[in-house]
Structures are given as C-alpha cells and as structure tokens.
Amino acid sequence: MEYKLTFKEYNKSLKKGKLLGLKCNDCGNYTCPPKMACQECGSTNMDVEQLKGSGKVVTFTVSFVPAEGRDAEVPYTVVMVELDEGPWLLGNLTDIDPNKVTVDLIGKPVQLGSKMKALPGDVYMMGDKEAEGAFARPTFVFA
C-alpha cells in the first residue's frame, strides 16, 4: 500500500508554513505527523488535509546543552503543542526569550509562525532526498 503523506511531501509543505495531516474517513480523527495508519483507530482510509496550525502548549523545555553541531542554537525552547484538531506536534517557540520561560507557558495558545525554522541536517542525516536540503521545524509563536 502506498504511503499517503510521506515525510518529503509533509516537509516540503511545512517549510512553506502549511501544515498537512491526515483525516480519517472512518473515525473522523486527525493524524499529524503523518503515519501509515490512523493514530486513533488504525484505519488506512485517510485523506490528506491542511491543519490550522493552532493549538495550546501542553509541555515544554528550554534546552541549554546542545547535541553535536547545534551549539549555536542554545538556549532554545521546545514546545509540545496540542493542535486544535487533536494531535500533538513537537516544535519550537520563537517569540519569547528562552531565559524568561516559566511553567506558566503550559496552556498558552500558540500558532505556527510565518517563518519556519529548518535544520540543514548533519553528517548523520542523509536527508538530501527526503528533506530536500532541510528538515522543517514546526515553529510556533503566541496566538
């Protein structure tokens, strides 16, 4: 069975600020990031749909210790966002000073920003074919 929404397509779209997901024709729920089978019911009867890109922060961290090759990024804020359509999506929050982030961030409404950050990959990520040069990072701002 052919993969309905590949990383390549999802990533290409996300780099332009357009978040794609899959809507299940059997249970009506959304799956994002995409999977072969519905996150909620396991059905493969799903269609690609654009999601709004808005939601609220369910958890977060400010990272001070970088992985190799990412020294220039720290400190940075990672957020897990519950999208309005239901799925959780991991991304970055960019319009706050990481040093000023507190636990009050949980519950705050956010939306995908107009400028998407991307990771060019590194020597371990042979993403040239799939990522076409860069891995999009869902980049959120306060709603």
């Binding site: 990383f7 990533n11 990031p33 999977k35 996150q39 369910v58 958890t59 977060f60 961290t61 400010v62 990272s63 001070f64 210790v65 970088p66 992985a67 190799e68 090759g69 990412r70 020294d71 990024e73 940075y76 990672v78 897990m80 519950e82 799925p87 959780w88 999506l89 991991l90 991304g91 970055n92 982030v101 636990v103 949980i106 519950g107 991307a118 990771l119 590194d122 371990y124 990520m125 993403g127 799939e130 990522a131 891995f135 999009a136 990072r137 869902p138």
Partner: protein, 391 residues
Amino acid sequence: MRKVAIAGVGHTPFTFAAEKSSVELFNEAAMDAIIESGISAKDIQALYVGNVLGDFSEAQIMIQSYIADDLGATNIPATRYEGACASASLAIRDAFMWVASGFYDIVLVGGVETSAKMGTPLATRTFAMAHDSHYEYPAGLTFPGLFAMLAHLYTAKYDVPLEKLKEQMAMVTVQSHKYGVHNKYAQFQKEITVEDVLKSFMVCSPLQLYDCCPFSDGAAAMVLASEDVAKKLTKKPVYIAGVGQSSSGKLSAQKDYAPRIRAREVSVKQAYDMAGIGPDDVDLCELHDCFSIASIIAVESLGFAEFGKGGEMWETGQADRGGKVAINMSGGLKSKGHPIGATGASQAVDIVHQMRGEAEPGRQVEDVKIGLTDTLGGDGVLCNMVLKRGW
C-alpha cells in the same frame, strides 16, 4: 517451556572514558560469568549482546561476532541487540526464550557500551538518534529534553507544584548516591545533598545536572542455563520467572498517556503475569532512572505507587532499604552509571548479587526472594524481568 536460570554473572566497573575496547570490556565480564558458572567458553551454544553505539564510539559493527571469537567461543551463532538503553534487556529476554524453548541449554548474554569515550556533544547527538529523526529531532529534542518535558507535563497533569516535584526529584538522586557510594562498580562513589542537586547547572529545564545520569563505559554479562543444567553448575540458581517487552511511538504519539509511558504498563504486566506475582511481591527493583523524574514516573507504572504520587515514595522512605520496595540499591543509572548497551544486564547482575547476599554491607537488602528489572530504551522500548531466588 523450560525453566531458565542465571548460573553465573560478571560486571566490569562502570567508568568515565574507558581505556579498554568494547570487546575487551565485554569479555572481562563474560569470562567472569563463565568462570563463576564452572564452564568453559566452548560450552556456550549462542551469544546475545546488547550494544547501541559501537558504530560511533569505536567504528565497529558486528561486534558480537568478534566478541565470540575473542572469547574462544568459535563459530557460535552471535546476535547483536539494539533497543537503545534497553538493548541488553532485549538480549536477555531473547536468550531466555531460546533456552526455555529447549533449543539451547547454555548461552551467554550481556551488553557493552563505551559512550563516555565519545564526549558529551557526540554522545548527546547519538543518544538523540533514539528519537524520531524526521519528526522530532529537528526541533532540538534530546534525552534530557524529553524527560524535562515529561516533568513539566507531570506538574500540570497531577497538579504537583514544580518546586515540590523538584525536591522529590532531588531526593531520588540523593538516594541513588547514598547506595552507589557502596557499590564497587559504580562510576560515582560519592554522596550528595538535595542542595547540591538544586544548585547544579541547568541542562534542560527543569532538569539540572544532578537530575541526569552520566555517560558511561562498561559491560555486564551472564550465563543462562536450563534448570537441569543450572542445578549442576551452581547451588544458587536465580530463575528468570517472567519477562515482558513492549514498544511505543514517538513522544507526540504518546499523547493519550504521557507522562505515563504506557509501554511500561504493558511490559511489566506480561512479566508479573508470567511469574504469577504482583507489585506487592517485589522485594527489590532496579529501575530505569536515566533522569530523576524517570524514577517517579516508573514506580507509578510498575504498580508501586498511585499516579501522581510516585515522588512520595522517596519522601517517606518507601523506596529505601527497609521500605515497601527497595529501589536501585546499586546506585541506579544515576550513581552506578549507564553504559546504555549494558544497563539491562547490569540491573539483573546486581539483583543476583543481592539474592546471593554478595552486595556490599552498606547496600545489601536482607532476604531478597523476588527482584524486578525495568529498562527503558529511547522514548518507549520497555523490557521487564522478574527474577526469583532458586534456593
């Protein structure tokens, strides 16, 4: 299925950057297990090795084959297991099944890692390969980052103020060091205080340095044998009475349960049911405390504490020696160290030492009859084992 026993064990010191290779480390542990079992390498019918990052730390894949040959177990089938930090436990579970099935009578199993050799940046990078590389690593997720997010989620979901949770987390670390100081194999043999934890530098908020286990090098190994054979090899067989294993999707796919790791609940139930026991029967547990918050989350899913109340086990001494269940009397990953490919085997080896009464007096638990291991790989490979004293 036949009963399977641990007939002999071996364990190297867990250290900062080792001056030995992974083959050398594994076989020091392996030869000790072989000698203790009173067999020779030629008696071993198959080898199962947990190893995660040998490709990166030593430019070596297929290490299992070189380990077997180096040991003198020439031409035996040898297999490497990769389940991130749970690799050795996956190897043990499979080794157990090959013996239980009747296919083999004597096998060697264990794990080895030299991640400290890589240094923090490369080790952080390669450990993060156990996240979803396409959908979650690009945003900057790392292992402390993952557990940091679970900690914040924990405060919100269970309405535990962050300050209180941080104190409970610090108590977890303090207890690990309190026992690690007595463990001759431990990487840190040093006591620390709650204040030390709370003033250490921030890694990923809210996790500070002493909330995190170190990068470590080391190995652990065991000889497994069928019941009949084991009884001839040792007067003190420790039986693998139950095993469980489970897997998970990426962190965002775990939304319905997080900060619980549902896979742990699935895995440990398999192990408990197979052994015919429940959490109340466990005397001693070596659980996966890669981060202080990880212990609190673990005791809840293992059935030792109610959800949202795991930290109270350290506040009240229920996780301590003489408490409800003695947790991480080895010092755990935090104080003993965490050479990821070896950790599951190290947990089992330590329970064997405890059952035989061979642990150092400062950390020996009296009369251990039932032990539980709990190993977590990446963001959701789980493996649990119930060990029963056979004498």
